[in-house]
Assembly symmetry: D2
Homo-oligomer: 192 residues x 4
């Protein structure tokens, strides 16, 4: 029997055209998170933890993930290109598309997580107060343990970002570690 | 053809045993919301808007809603009895049970709302930062217009309550009217 | 930790008003299944296996299960009364309502089965070629082991009933035991 | 406002490795359906009707549809190559992956159909008595009008295929037209 992977890293909506009200502010807040996300991905890949991209399809239903990345690279501002350069999924990463905020809503994610025997999700991406947040709450409702990486998410303003992190910690008791903390953590015995 | 009801009032988790960490604080915060909820229910019933109770089943899967109300009346503090006295559903109200935070998760609610042709939900109940909040976000993801009634909800602390109301207004642009405002509002032409 | 129940008996749509095209034929075919269903229920209750009723709500969204039973007793032919007399759920049975064919579609059933740690469903009720059949296929898709009790189901004609039983056996490899066989079966060690 | 497409053609599981019990028989039955499926696809594309491929992912979660087609071409018998040659999706077709029998189960299909404003599905592919059949029943439960194209599906035996077609016609009253009939049909006024 395959040994269950206990964790998965979920990278949410990092490919974006930023063509909406507040998009410029979000793009600006997102830029410093890009290298953090790359670091995070490297770390989890290295530990054999599944890396799962879930990204909005921008109603481009005829595209797979690479088509969506190509679209945002073309249609978005500089930050979209930087994200595509730094974070384009590899062959070893799972790539799922979604059409609403939560990565759980009408996607293959619940089936994938069951298949992988995942029990704990580490969440990063954007927007911290929208798709990442809704996905975190939905994961909690579905019974998963959840961590949100506080410096690998971005919202339109820092105040909004802070507010959701406070909510996750205070109401749900979730951990919100920083990248540094996760990356330097000594792996627990037998974890993966 | 039946004229579509455009709105529904969703009353979330008002029957509670408060037997959990922080339950005493929540019970205290909830007490002043009880008459507000009664007022709200009266108002919507009077306008012919469907009133839908969705309540946790406390893992009492053998009970229907009246069994759950009886249980909380018995097992909870005074506030549980006050809520049961003031808010027990009538024969004209729809009563659905749930087992997790969101009223949309693995319940009949999506089927009911389609059947009733509802497009807009007015939410009230508790906890404001848990089940009401998760239901509001889920409703938004499902494509419903949502209002959360700011003085007919309660959380363990007022700070938590304020935080979720700020999130709903600022991130999602939701209306968070007070009971007074809703009750005195002149019905829009042809609305129901 | 609670010992998982491995099986559950699912009794589908035995409360019916038969007010639809072909309803008279179905009522006639259903009559001999009533005592079989009573026997089956007795047997599983006696072994401590959860008995779960899932029944159509006939778009009577304001009713709980007992309201639906009362409605069919009133509105249906003699057979409806006989079913209500013989099969009305007890306090120890779980009662869920549904609004479409499959008992899994937009109901609490998936949550209940997870809660009860059920892995295998024994299905009975009607119509054998409609709601029972669709529920059996859906249970299979959801990953449950399924048995359909061949003489505790009924369809509008025996030909239709035979056809679905053949499909379940040949395409899905499902067992379709008779009541007699199930009731006399010596319980496997440690099963419940 | 975009004019709603009323129909969609759903092509189910035509890319297959046939590596399972009964796979050889299914491959043989499937061969004559390949040119029929190509004809059908041509016809619907020409009328501007969305063509949606939904295919099992063979637990290859790291692949998109083209990866799955490449896999079956490599791993399957001659028929797999013939299907890949004749039926590989074009840029204009929507491509969704699934992991269980029904195309509706834990996929993006329900979201896609809502987005496209589809009300009627035309189903073809394989296996006629498994994934096509389960998808047809699920579509019916979800409230879609459904047609199954009788000579553009295949099951392990003709007897099984006949049985499900009889069920769809007799129990559900579904139309089961042949390709010839669909292709030569004069489009109804204003239909697409």
């Amino acid at each position: 029997m395959v040994q269950p992977h206990r964790q998965a890293l979920l990278i949410v909506d990092v490919f974006n055209d930023f063509r909406f009200e507040g998009g410029t502010g979000l793009a600006e807040q997102f830029r410093p998170a890009i290298p953090q996300l790359a670091l995070l991905r490297e770390h989890f890949r290295g530990r054999g933890v599944p890396v799962v991209y879930v990204n909005d399809n921008f109603d481009r239903w005829h595209e797979d993930m690479h088509g969506v990345v190509a679209y945002t690279r073309e249609a978005g501002p500089d930050v979209s290109r930087e994200a595509a350069d730094a974070l384009t999924p590899g062959r070893e990463d799972v790539r799922l598309l979604k059409s609403r905020h939560s990565a759980f809503y009408r996607t293959q994610l619940p089936a994938l997580l069951e298949h992988l025997r995942v029990g704990e999700l580490v969440l990063a991406g954007m927007a911290g107060d929208a798709c990442v947040f809704t996905t975190a709450l939905d994961a909690h409702v579905h019974g998963y343990k959840v961590q949100v990486v506080r410096d690998a998410i971005a919202s339109q303003t820092q105040a909004r970002n802070r507010r959701v992190l406070e909510h996750l910690r205070e109401t749900l008791g979730m951990a919100t570690p920083g990248v540094e903390e996760l990356v330097s953590r000594i792996p627990r015995e037998g974890r993966c």
